[in-house]
Amino acid sequence: MAVIVAIAVVAVAWPFLSPERGAPEQALSPRDRNRLDLMERRDAAYAGLRDLEQDHRTGKISDEDYQSERRRLRAEAAGALRALDTLDSEPDTSSPEE
């Protein structure tokens, strides 16, 4: 039983005894969160376009509905991409959140 306790203590203490691997933990800045949100909006629009394509090919929606929804999703993706470009072109003055 003493051996088991010793092994458990070593396992718990090991991260403090071994050399630190990788960079220290850093917080997310508001800019990072914003970029993440925009990328998700972009990827959600892309996923929506793929699903739309599948639904159109399998006859669930008419040509008219397909064109209308495709315009809307492409506009969403384009909006997200423009916002990302604007974000990346601005200087980063934000600090990690507390």
Binding site: I4, A8, E25, D37, I61, D65
Partner: protein, 667 residues
């Protein structure tokens, strides 16, 4: 051995307490070393819990009756497989199993997220750790599996409950516990997302797989239990709306609702608050189910005797609900929907209706379970809620849900036009109407719920078939190749969608099995002397005398029944009464005998009693059409769940690319 086992559990309690505190500090300070230390503590706790299980299994196999659970639930003549499974026959042993699965889940989550979700993981570990602290405390302080026998240790044990001496004892409880316990992980991720304000898509992807696993395990556990009841308990049925059966069904229904509504959040950014509520409700119902089984407040074949575990579980459940509600209210502004519902004729609306029906059904089941308890607490009189109450709502909610199972996959997101609706649904509707008319002509119109259920099953099956056919056709149009190749590619590229359709097919099989056996079965009971016959559902059963067989800890007395149909003998059945020889008190069980045929019809026989003075036996016989479809549905369900759970490398790469681009520090 008991001393070492108790010491191991105490060490587990210390480790999980450290893990919980350390992970909270790691989250507040963003200390990666402290987080790794907390993760190591969880894994060490799992190793110690497994060691405790091994020790208890050794004690069981070696008949160490100095340990109370070994004395109370085993005997020297109990076969070894049942010695091993008796670990979870007792309250303390089953708590140890709960703790083992929970620490195992915590360890797996730690390993899966070594290099991702770094902001979430301290809080995920803290929440799961809090659950571990609770269950470790119960296993150490309130209900220890290593508690010693009081007084003189008898030479032999009291034996295992006869109904637990069945191979399903090895599978049913572990499957259920995997389900109940694993729902802690999605709950923990949801709470961590609220704490860190990281309500983005990555945690949804992590939660989705764990929720699917928990939901599938619980579903499989329930079906295993239903089959066990069918072959062992001897009343001819497979689901009795027992409170503890209902306790597993309620979180499963809430989990089903969540799995559908989370798709709406992913596609349309809606129902965010609703999804947090559902994840919390699912976990809370799992705890409530555990309370029902362990507190002894309900009369059930599944219940343990009354114990202090019950009040402790209620306190824990209250803490869980208070914690989740506080977090949800605090972070409400983060959970605003990105879009509104644009049309009631849309996939979003279909999923919303599906959710409302599922939760309404869960609520009426909860009321049916809780009402007798409340009635006793308030008036001192325990009322009963019987089977017709549940069956009424099963039909009332089940049929619309079945219809939505067919509508949802074919209807478009955002808005469907009347033209597209007719184009999409005309063949399923025509097939259902024609099929229903044909079934009515064949004589199945005697039960309108049964006929409606069959018609809707045709509707859903045709919609699923059309989805696969159209999808494969579209795939061939793009990539060429054979139909089988196109089908494989289709499923591989859209695992969630088509895995979900396979699960829907399992639901169809389940409904056909339940409707057919419930609405179109036959039953008869008769007292027979040798040579006499009885009729049931087109079969003749002729009693041909008794036979006796001896097992390791029992003696079976069986009636020999010759089964014939249309004048031809088709088989022989031996329903028996089993007398256990290792119990100090006379203990019997019914050992039914069932004949399955290729038409899917079961002839189910029960030896109700024997009167040697009159040389006669009392036989109860049932003819259950299509029950075997229910068990087939279980296999199809597992296949569909496996397809849906299987990781999609493209999704994983996309998420990793997105996060490494957005957050270079996170990768």
């Amino acid at each position: 051995m008991a001393t070492v086992g108790s010491a191991l559990l105490l060490l587990v309690l210390a480790l999980v307490t450290y893990a919980t505190v350390a992970s909270v500090l790691a989250g507040l300070r963003r200390d990666r070393r402290l987080m790794r230390s907390a993760g190591n503590a969880v894994m060490a706790a799992f190793a110690c819990t497994v060691s405790a299980v091994v020790l208890l299994e050794i004690a069981l196999v070696r008949h160490d009756f100095s340990i109370a659970v070994v004395l109370q639930h085993t005997s020297r003549t109990l076969p070894t497989p049942y010695l091993l499974t008796s670990l979870w026959a007792s309250q303390p042993g089953s708590l140890l199993l709960w703790l083992t699965v929970l620490t195992g889940a915590g360890s797996l989550v730690t390993l899966q997220n070594r290099h991702k979700n770094r902001e979430l993981m301290p809080w995920v570990t803290a929440v799961v750790g809090g659950c571990m602290v609770f269950f470790a405390s119960m296993a150490t302080i309130i209900s220890s599996p290593f508690e010693r026998t009081v007084g003189v240790v008898p030479r032999d044990g009291f034996g295992l409950d006869p109904s637990l001496q069945n191979p399903y004892m090895a599978a049913h409880p572990p499957a259920l516990y995997l389900g109940y316990v694993s729902f802690a992980v999605p709950f923990a991720f949801a709470m961590a997302a609220l704490i860190t304000r990281r309500t983005d898509a990555r945690w949804l992807a992590s939660v989705r797989r764990w929720t699917l696993f928990a939901w599938a395990s619980l579903g499989v556990g329930m079906l295993l239990g239903a089959h066990w009841a069918y072959v062992e308990i001897g009343w001819g049925g497979y689901w009795g709306w027992d409170p503890v059966e209902n306790a597993a069904l309620m979180p499963w229904l809430a989990g089903t609702a969540y799995l559908h509504s989370v798709m709406v959040q992913e596609k349309r950014g809606m129902l965010k608050v609703w999804n947090v509520v559902l994840v919390t409700a699912t976990f809370a119902l799992s705890i409530f189910g555990t309370f029902l089984t362990r507190s002894g407040v309900v009369d059930s074949i599944h219940s343990f005797v009354q114990s202090p575990v019950g009040p402790a579980l209620l306190v824990f459940l209250s803490i869980v609900l208070a914690f989740a509600t506080t977090l949800l209210v605090w972070r409400l502004p983060l959970l605003r929907s990105d879009h509104k519902l644009e049309s009631v004729v849309s996939r979003e609306a279909t999923f919303l209706f599906n959710n409302l029906l599922l939760l309404a059904f869960a609520f009426v089941i909860l009321w049916g379970v809780a009402f007798p308890l409340l009635s006793e607490a308030v008036r001192g009189v325990r009322s009963t809620v019987s089977v017709p109450y549940y069956n009424f709502f099963l039909v009332a909610f089940g049929l619309p849900l079945l219809a939505l199972t067919g509508v949802g996959p074919l209807i478009a997101w955002r808005r469907a036009t009347p033209g597209s609706l007719w184009r999409t649904f005309r063949w399923p509707v025509i097939s259902a109407a024609a099929g229903g008319a044909l079934l009515a002509l064949l004589g199945l119109g005697s039960s309108w719920p049964g006929l409606t259920a069959f018609s809707l099953c045709i509707f859903v099956t045709v919609t699923i078939g059309l989805e696969f056919a159209r999808g494969a056709s579209a795939r061939r149009a793009i990539a060429g190749g054979s139909w089988p190749r196109a089908l494989v590619d289709l499923v591989s590229r859209n695992r969630r969608r088509y895995g979900g359709y396979v699960v829907h097919l399992a639901v169809v099989l389940l409904v056909v099995g339940i409707a057919a056996s419930g609405a179109y079965g036959s039953v008869n009971q008769a007292a027979l002397k040798p040579g006499q016959s009885m009729q049931v559902g087109g079969y003749t059963l002729t009693y041909a005398g008794m036979r006796s067989t001896t097992g390791p800890n029992y003696v079976d007395t069986a009636a020999r029944l010759v089964v014939s149909r249309g004048g031809s003998t088709v088989g022989t059945l031996y329903p028996a009464v089993r007398d256990f020889t290792d119990h100090s008190v006379k203990t019997q069980s019914n050992e039914v005998d069932i004949r399955h045929d290729l038409r899917g019809v079961d002839v189910y026989t029960i030896l109700q009693g024997a009167d040697p003075s009159k040389n006669e036996v009392v036989i109860k016989a049932l003819v259950n059409p299509m029950v075997s479809l229910i068990w087939l549905a279980g296999l199809v369900f597992v296949l569909g769940a496996a397809i849906t759970i299987w990781p999609d490398p493209r999704e994983a790469r996309q998420l990793a690319r997105r996060y490494s681009t957005a957050l270079a520090k996170e990768a």
